[in-house]
Symmetry: C2
Subunit: 318 residues, 2 copies
């Protein structure tokens, strides 16, 4: 299984070919008013229009397609309360495999329904890392299912890398900067690799919530650090990095910029109001960082990956 | 000025060529889940991504470009609290003409700001038809500006017709049904003409709010009727038809279906949640009609014009 090795250029290209029939080549949006307001020339890769409403479909389907027939026959398992759960459930259904998803027992019903909608078997557990892992372990012992980590997995990273690769293909000329949010670092490390291989002159800059500021610490120390505190509206970015994502990020990412929840909500609102698209708080984080550091990006061609659009419309921060 | 005559096929084609540099060729979205839920094969023309956030940019720019240099020099005027005000302000700026917009003094500040943002001169007046018209009349006497009606104007109708023409071009094969909402009828009459000229086998069906149900009455009686009562969340559809729009609609529209506000909000929510796009209540009306009459549309290829995305995010009905 070549795709479990470090994602080389050809592995990312192969992954892209592999997953293409199962994912959308999402559009890239530009907006005159947003360019005027930001002072940059911004290209938004709309992964909110991706299958399952988020980029995670890419990594999920790539990981599942990379499994042998024998492994698929035993099913796939993971723990997640968010988009990764849907991604694995969606991917498993595409290959006709069973998905066993462990979700915290306080998961929003809209997310539970979405996972059920893809035919996955859900096991609920208390919302602690220990409980999640123990529950997954029991499922593996019972079924022989393969565990797919949400981000610290080279197959997942190679899948997420295809979003940036597409964006680079879709923009005329080269981007000065490519931005992504950072949670566990699957998307950011994939984005950084795609920039390295397909557009080496492009700087990769990440956005991170102040209320989950672990990556910026890990980036400096070289160790996987925990955030001093975790409290942010960007609920897709709560997780610390993994060793694999950290190593790639340290080598290929230029900078991590942090933003407050107020800045995230303002950026999110601007995207909704001006571009007429639904973007989740986590997805607005890099654009918030751009707006906060306008002078740094002034006049530059900036690509931003809008990661997803899965929000609870009944609980908007506006 | 040929464009003040009844919109023939060639006038719509010419109008399209004329306005193309100033408008977006908006994308057509499809969605697997929405097709499953509705039982139809639905193609959404995303005019919420249009300039000014609504299809009205098409009619506004077409009307303004149709004016002689001499007329443009005296400026353009209209009264509107909504998207037409922005459309005229935007169009005037494109040709370097002055725009004098009469707005009700209770207009939402977000709409006032948008019109100001295009450099238009705003005159406020009490929110009655008489006051609006008197205020416009004074502006015309003072400036010699040309009045552009929001819908009962062949130049405006020809401009709005280009949305349906594009949709018909963008979909492979022919549509069984083409749907639009009806307020004053500018979009619906233009849509009906484009279907007649460019896809004669396509039925045109309109959606109208129960809380502004004048068009369905006018459609039956052949006279411009008033709604029995006006109370709906679809604030872009409050106006009765005009004589020009009524005549076209009676000749070329198959049917008008009415929907409740509850049905409009449910359809709107489905579009936001599943397609991750911001659609205003008026824009969700035809899709609400489709969902209400599922059996009528089952298995059919249906094009729907999503008219706009200008909503106040602070006052959502979710």
């Amino acid at each position: 299984m070549t795709s479990e090795t470090y994602p080389s250029q050809s592995i990312i290209e192969q992954s892209h070919d592999l997953i293409r029939p199962y994912i959308h080549r999402t559009p890239v949006f530009t907006n005159t008013t947003i360019n005027q307001l930001s002072g940059a020339e911004v290209y938004f890769k709309c992964e909110n229009f991706q299958k399952i409403g988020a980029f995670k479909a890419r990594g999920g389907i790539n990981a599942v397609l990379s499994l042998s027939e024998a492994d698929r026959a035993n099913g796939i398992t993971t723990h997640s309360s968010g988009n990764h759960a849907q991604a694995i459930a969606y991917a498993a259904r595409q290959v006709g495999a069973r998905a066993y998803i462990v979700m915290p027992d306080n998961s929003p019903s809209v997310k539970i329904k979405a996972v059920e909608g893809y035919g996955a078997e859900i096991t609920f557990c208390p919302n602690t890392p220990e409980d999640r892992e123990a529950t997954v372990q029991k499922i593996i012992e019972r079924t022989g299912a393969t565990f797919i980590h949400p981000f610290n997995d080279y197959r997942v990273i190679a899948g997420q890398a295809t979003a940036a690769r597409e964006l680079l293909e879709q923009v005329d000329g080269s981007l000065d900067v490519l931005m992504a949010p950072v949670g566990g670092g699957g998307l950011l490390s994939g984005t950084a690799l795609s920039a390295r291989y397909f557009s080496p002159s492009t700087q990769v800059i990440a956005g991170e919530p102040e209320g989950a500021a672990d990556a910026i610490l890990s980036f400096k120390s070289g160790q996987v650090e925990r955030a001093p505190f975790v409290k942010t509206i960007a609920d897709g970015l709560l997780t610390p990095l993994g060793d694999k994502t950290l190593a790639i990020i340290r080598e290929h990412v230029r900078e991590i910029l942090t933003v407050s929840d107020e800045e995230i909500v303002a950026a999110m609102r601007l995207l909704w109001e001006r571009m007429k698209i639904v973007v989740e708080p986590s997805g607005a984080v890099p654009f918030a960082a751009l707006l906060k550091h306008r002078e740094q990006f002034a006049g530059k061609k900036v690509g931003i990956i809008l990661t997803g659009g899965n929000v609870d419309l009944g609980k908007l921060p506006f």
